[in-house]
Each structure stands twice: as C-alpha cells, then as structure tokens.
Amino acid sequence: MIERNFKIWRGNSKGGDFVNYKISIDEGMVVLDALKLIQADQANDLGLRWNCKAGKCGSCSMEINGKPKLACMDRVTDYKEDSQITVRPVKTFPVIKDLVTDLSWNYEQNKRIPPFKPKPRENGAKYRMQQEDVDRVQEFRKCIECYLCQNVCHILRDQEKKNKFVGPRFMIRLASLEMHPLDTEDRIPAIKNEYGSGYCNITKCCTEVCPESIKITDNGIIPIKERVVDRFYDPVLKLFRVFSGSKK
C-alpha cells in the first residue's frame, strides 16, 4: 500500500475550490478507483460520473494533472510517488457538481445533423458494401462519446465559439456520414456554413486526447475541409461545374 495525495475540485455551478485528500492505493489502481475510494471513505458526497470502468462508456472524462483523460484508464502508479494528482472536471462544459459536468450542449449539436439517408433499394435488393468502403467510416464509429475532444478543442474551450463550431466529435460524425457510400444527403454546404469547419485550425489536440485513437483530424476533419474546398474554394472545379452542369 502506498500513500498518495489527491487534489480534487469540489463545488457546483456557483463556484468551488480544490480539496486535498490522502489515500492508500493498491498496485494497479486507476484514478477512478482512487476517486471511488475517496468517495467511500472520506467524501460521500463527491459528485462523480462513471459506468463501465473499461474505457468504453466515456462517462468518466475529467482532467487529471491538467490533461483530459478517462479516469478509468489512467493508472495512479504512472504518476511520481511524491507528486500530487490534481483532478478537475472538464473545463469546456458547465459544472453540475464536483467532477460532473452538463454535456447536454453536445446532444443538441447531434440533433442538428441530418441523419443517414441511404439511396433507395433497387427492387427490394439488399444493400451491399465492400470491406474497404466499410473500413474508412468504421474508424469514426469507434467514438465512445466521452467528449474529451470537445473539451480540449480550443475553439470551444478558450475561444468560446460554441455558436460557430460543432466541435471535433461532430465533425467526425459528419465525416462518417459524408464518406458513407450509400448515403445520399449533401451536408457539405452546412459543414461550411452551419457547423463551422473553417473554424478548425488543425492543431490536433482532439486526436491527441482521443482514448479510441481515432485520427480525428487526419482522417475526419481534413478530408471534410478538403471537400469544402472542392465545393467552395477551388476555382477550377467551380468552372468545371459551370460547364458540366453538375451541382456537386
């Protein structure tokens, strides 16, 4: 058993402060285990959201020593023995209590996105997709909606442009729909004008914090930005569309 010091933010929407806790930890414990132990032994009213404890539900997102992480995937023993571990709620969304934040803004963004609209079946035939077509969009389906990418995105976090940019999580949702071979909906104008693809400046923090290792920027946002370029900025393609009569 090793003694470890934790500094946990306690409070609500009106305000709060960091409170120090000292606990004995077992080898292999993750930060979430430590928080549950503190909750059980020292702070019964500690607000904490968790569910699967296996890095798959995305509930225990928080900032540990300043880094956005899942508490259930972060080993306490990875930190120096004599160091204090600082735990605070995600910064970008309003605090409800202690480490629990209100993520409802994200659900509102999700509702704004036109859903999958497959091309009509021909004479009742089954849809068929090849593996290489599935693979590309499948990567984005690994998202567990922990919203760590939304939290670390400086456009939402520091520049506070929630009214302009939907954030990386929804850019990859848009990418998964736009790149889907069976989808017929055209979301490119909305990606530029309503969802704010131009606000992203590719600093890749979303990719750095993704617990599912989704290449959010390289495989999702940049390809989508390039499709916006095809439609709105490339003068040669614009000219080509004028002469060919194509709208896309």
Partner: protein, 266 residues
C-alpha cells in the same frame, strides 16, 4: 477554476518543450533560408546548384559562386529590377515563394506554427492566445484553402530538383559523382516523400470518393499516399532540414571552405 488567461494550465508535464522546439527549428530555418536566399552568391559550384536558387529564372553574371548565364531560363538579370534590400537581385527571391507557400499552407505546419508562433493554443489544454473575435480559417486565413494549388507547384519543383540532381552527375560532360551529387539526390527524394504525403494530395488522389471499391487503382494509390501521410510530420522536418543542408553544403564548397570529394578530381 476556469482561468482563461494565456498559457494557464493545470498540466504538470513539460508541455512547452514541443512549441519551443518548433519555434527554434522553424525560426532557424526561416532565418537561414532568408539570409541564404538574399545573398545572390555562392549558390553554384559546377555541377551543383543550390535548391534555394532552382530554377534560375535570371542570372546575374560576375557574381562569386554564381551560375553561368547558360543556366538561366530567361537570360541576364533585368536592368529594371529595383534591387533594394528586400528585393535583392538574387535568383532565389523569384522562386522561393512557391515552396514557401506549400509549407505555409501545409496541414502539418499549420498545426506546428499555430501552436508555436500564434499560441492558438500553445499546447493541448493550455490557455490559448485570447481572441475576442476568433475566426479560425474563415477570415484572413481563408487562403489556407488554396493549399492544393501550392501542392501543384511543389510537384513541378520535384521534377526541377530531380533534373538538378541528374545534372549533378555530369561535370563538363563527364559522368561521375561526388558528395554533392548524393546530397542533391537525397534532397528531392526527401521532398517527394513529404510532398506526396500531403493531405490535399491524399484527397485528390482518391480520398474525395465515397466508393473505394469502385476503383482499385484509386484505392491502391490512396493507400500508398496514406502511408506517407501518416509520416507527414517526419518527412516535413527531414525535408526541411535537408533542403537547408543542401544549400549550406553547396555554399561551403562554393566558398572554398570545404572540399567536395568527387570522381572528377575537382
């Protein structure tokens, strides 16, 4: 708890190391390439031509370490050239804008210099430079959307620099090779590995389609470009270093500071 001031963070690691390294690396390259490009001299040592000066649109004769007039595309340096300190009569000032624009609008370098130079943000979960009316790449930076046009010129430059590397095998018509030949051959190869891994190229070569299975050729090319794209940062730095080193090597040889070992015995 939510301190929005610039550079504020609860991170306990050395988050500042990466932006400082980029600042120093890019800053050093910008300083050296600007200085070297403005010299207008010691960029040539037969048969080696510095990549900062290729292609030679105009050539000013009688310059130490300058190329002969026969290497010029359009002849002698024009008399109407203003020739003040920001626009010296150096062949490099006519062409450096093209590779510069490719790197400036590159998706990797955007990440690097937005973090290191404009602090938007300096590192993940570290307070960004506060901008009341942040516009990202929708305002002044809309020009970043023309990256693919910079790519087209970068591809043309690959052919030019490979031509220069091929020329570096011939000294006064005699076939041979020197350290400079090797340096000049590695240069466009590094640049090719960087250029062909470009995100815009990846999009144009196949990424724009939704149906990979519809064209095996397109899909095959996309996969190869994806391989390079995953190493885009690595090749961005290697090619940047090597293009600077190539100029430095030729400059040193041309100035007589170091000797080029070669089969011609020069």
């Amino acid at each position: 708890m939510n301190n929005n001031s610039i550079g504020f963070t609860y991170r306990a690691d050395n988050w500042w190391l990466q932006p400082v390294a980029v600042l120093v690396g890019l800053g050093a390259f910008i300083a050296y390439s600007t200085w070297a490009g403005m010299q207008g001299a010691y960029y040539y040592y037969e048969p080696y031509l510095s990549p900062f000066y290729s292609p030679l649109v105009y050539v000013k004769t009688g310059i130490p370490g300058g190329a002969p007039l026969s290497h010029s595309l359009l002849g002698a340096w024009p008399a109407w050239w203003p020739n003040f300190f920001l626009l010296p009569s150096s062949p490099a000032v006519l062409i450096l804008i093209f590779p510069l624009s490719f790197r400036l609008t590159c998706y990797y370098y955007r990440k690097a210099y937005y973090r290191a130079f404009t602090w938007s943000p300096p590192a993940c979960a570290v307070g960004a430079f506060p901008q009341k009316n942040y516009k990202g790449e929708t305002g002044l930076l809309t020009f970043q959307n023309f990256h693919r046009y910079a790519l087209y010129t970068a591809i043309i430059f690959l052919f030019i620099l490979y031509y220069d590397a091929a020329q570096a095998f011939f000294y006064k018509g005699g076939f041979g090779a020197g350290i400079g030949t090797l340096v000049l051959l590695i240069n466009p190869t590094m640049l090719a590995l960087y250029t062909l891994g470009c995100h815009s190229f990846r999009h144009l070569i196949g990424g724009q389609t939704d149906c990979f299975s519809c064209s095996k050729t397109k899909f095959g090319l996309w996969k190869k470009v994806t391989y390079l794209n995953e190493r885009h940062q690595l090749f961005a730095w290697l090619s940047l270093f090597w293009v600077g080193f190539t100029d430095f090597y030729i400059r040193m040889v041309s100035m007589g500071i170091i000797k080029d070992y070669n089969t011609w015995g020069i």
